[in-house]
Symmetry: C2
């Protein structure tokens, strides 16, 4: 994209039940009784849209895990929830997490094409490979597909989905009532894919999406994950604890794009940030402490066990982490494992301290301060080569998102760092990313 | 259900692109350019709701087939579209077709649970087994699973989905902020299913749906289909051409319920009707003729070839049907094959005449007349043991649905045959069907 506008940052609101902090639902400012109520999420999406945010995003997993005893769970499947939100919003992008390990490309391509049509070009797909045995066991498998093979499958999956979206030329629908020709079927073609993981004849049974393809998003930061992102992703969500880590990741990932014939502006990097806001710094820190005090240690320990692939049950909370395996032996989320292990090692944290540090962001950066201080942090990362924007993870919902929109966004706008109106209609337009061309199918031979 | 209210009929609006007639999109009264526009379907759903209809319904197929050259196709995936419609309607039920042959029960159970929560208890699942090789070829299979095995898989699929919906007790969420207990996990239990087709550990990652289970709908009228319906379905859509056929089907299906321990009022039978409305009978017949004149014979022939499993390309339109195979040799939609074959034989139709007869309803009953005459037909079938209600298939949309709501519904209301206000909130309440109990999971051993 060539543009004369100054570079501005991009903001995504990561929506999560009663909030991202694992004790959010116990805080009097949240509404855990509403996490299965569409109107609750409607309010969140409209708040993001009121703040002119680029998009809202839903994570996902395909098993209950051990989450529900001590944490609120709505459990909406992302595509159904975002389709409902498409009907009650006008501009904000809608990014759904869908796994390539436990799905079929025909279904997934079709659902995203539907969401893109339904929303007038606002769909994004956060491509995940799923990391747990618990998920495999809901799909007839006792063991989980190996990390490298999951990415191999993901590559073929995305290739097939892309060909399905392109199976209709943009101008295939001619709608000639007089001659009785609705579509020029020379411009709607089978894809005849036969690969390692999938066989898909096509074409898709939905016209090409308004955006050409939905925005492709990725969030794995392992070696496999970064290489996958460099090849396919247009936006990357990532967990980075320090400016230096953020800069290193940014530089590393951007440098990989050239080998896929891509330029650095074709992929945006959005580190996560969990802003704990207060009207004074003391107030923000008090809220952070209040949330820490509400944590259920057993829950934190179970979450930490899951992230590290090590059962920590029964270990003394005020002792250190035990010996951990190497990243190469982890078959789940490799990058999150490494991040948490390094955080504990670097800062010499006890289990209790680590649980407190992970409570608000599950490994994403947490920052407590005033709106001005939060804006300073965002500006620093944005101008110092660590971010093209941010994945905003409010510790409390809806309050934390309302505060961000009402108090942080205006500061960013005054500094010229963020839009003051939506200038585009589609998610790609918000992110400044081109609509992919479709080499229109040639006439039938 | 014991109730003192007089028996009333149930109405479902079957939504279909520009209308059910295969030439609808060529008619000046339709809007084929809007079939990928959410606002178009929003108008249709709100029109159904204005008419106090029980539900709207979307059919589905998992391949493009040969439909798109001569007919309008929006192609929305039903669950995404109905989720969007959930956000802009309040009362009308939302019935989505989803195949058990090309899906996994964990995904399907979860999506319907999501839609049921999103809509406040208005979700219904039309369970289909999919009938074509074209669909199999989009899912890595060269051949299509045999008819009997498709139903075997469907039975296991529905059993697993039901157990997943029941994997949370209705009162599992306790939301005890003080003690930090969100859900009583003794009341959320794995299902540990290992069967012929599926292995699913569970539990589901969504709380039990407001309706307990979404309404289970079925539309196959073959021997396998009827037996499946008798065991599982709570509403059945069926194509019946004559009152006598309708009565025979009704009696047959209702008589099968006892062997599954069910009573006759636990399953509602809704034959399809494509009402071609006019303010006079002559006007209705003129509209019917106008639509016949707009048909593209090649399209009709291709559709007929698909229904009969016989390639009719190039046969003289004014000649008879060729020799047909036996129903037992059909591996697609057996009941539709038999209906069409008998219709042609009984009335001695040429191919052209058969294509005209199938144009408005694809085998469902077509009736052209005034609102009064249509109401008479509905009343006759309803009172003479052929129907508990109707699957209304307007030949033109949105006009045909508006006319039905504005002109036929008031007549039915005046006759005491249809509700004058919604008395329930959920789809089950509209249909007068009980919410299934959940034998709450016992405490962990």
């Amino acid at each position: 994209m060539t543009t004369s506008r100054p570079r501005q940052l991009h903001l995504n609101a990561f929506l999560m039940n009663a909030g991202h902090h694992d004790a959010a639902w116990r805080h009097p400012g949240t509404q855990p009784e509403r996490v299965t109520d569409l109107r609750y999420f409607q309010h969140l999406a409209r708040t993001a849209e009121r703040g002119l945010l680029d998009s809202v995003f839903l994570a996902d997993g395909l098993a209950l895990f051990n989450k529900v005893r001590h944490n609120a769970l709505g459990g909406f499947e992302p595509l159904t929830l975002l389709s409902a939100l498409a009907a009650v919003t006008e501009r904000v992008g809608l990014i759904a997490t869908v796994s390539t390990t436990f799905n079929e490309p025909f279904h997934v391509a079709r659902k995203f094409a539907s969401l893109d049509h339904l929303s007038g070009g606002r769909a994004g797909w956060n491509i995940v490979t799923s990391g747990t045995v618990a998920e495999a066991r809901n799909f007839g498998q006792d063991e989980h597909l190996e990390h490298r093979l999951r990415y191999e499958r993901a590559r073929e999956f995305v290739e097939v989905a892309t060909r399905l979206w392109d199976s209709w030329a943009d101008d295939a629908i001619v709608l000639d009532r007089e001659r009785g020709i609705y579509a020029d079927t020379d411009r709607v073609r089978a894809i005849n894919h036969r690969g390692e993981y999938f066989g898909v004849e096509g074409p898709l049974n939905v016209p090409r999406p308004p955006q050409g393809h939905p925005l492709l998003v990725q969030a794995g930061s392992s070696e496999d994950g970064k290489e996958f992102a460099a090849q396919y992703a247009e936006a990357v969500f990532t967990a980075q604890q320090t400016l230096a880590d953020g800069q290193a990741f940014y530089k590393d990932l951007k440098s990989r794009l050239a080998r896929y014939g891509r330029t650095e502006d074709q992929l945006l990097i959005l580190p996560g940030i969990a802003p704990v806001l207060g009207s004074t710094e003391a107030e923000a820190r008090a809220l952070e402490q209040e949330l820490t005090d509400l944590q259920v240690p057993e829950y934190g320990l179970a979450q930490l066990s899951g992230m590290l692939g090590v059962d920590l049950t029964g270990l003394p909370l005020d002792g250190p982490l035990p010996e951990l395996p190497e990243e190469r032996d982890i078959n789940g989320n490799k990058s999150r494992f490494t991040l948490v292990a390094e955080l504990a090692r670097r800062d010499g944290l006890t289990l209790r301290e680590l649980i407190a540090r992970l409570g608000a962001g599950r490994g994403h950066r947490v920052f407590a301060g005033t709106p001005e201080q939060v804006a300073d942090q965002l500006e620093e990362w944005f101008t110092q080569g660590a971010a093209d924007g941010f994945n905003v993870m409010p510790p409390l919902l809806p309050g934390g998102l309302e505060d961000f929109v009402d108090h942080v966004v205006p500061i960013l706008q005054r500094r010229g760092l963020f839009r003051t109106e939506y200038t585009g209609r589609t998610l790609r337009e918000h992110y400044g990313l081109a609509r992919p061309d479709n080499a229109a199918p040639a006439p039938a031979s």
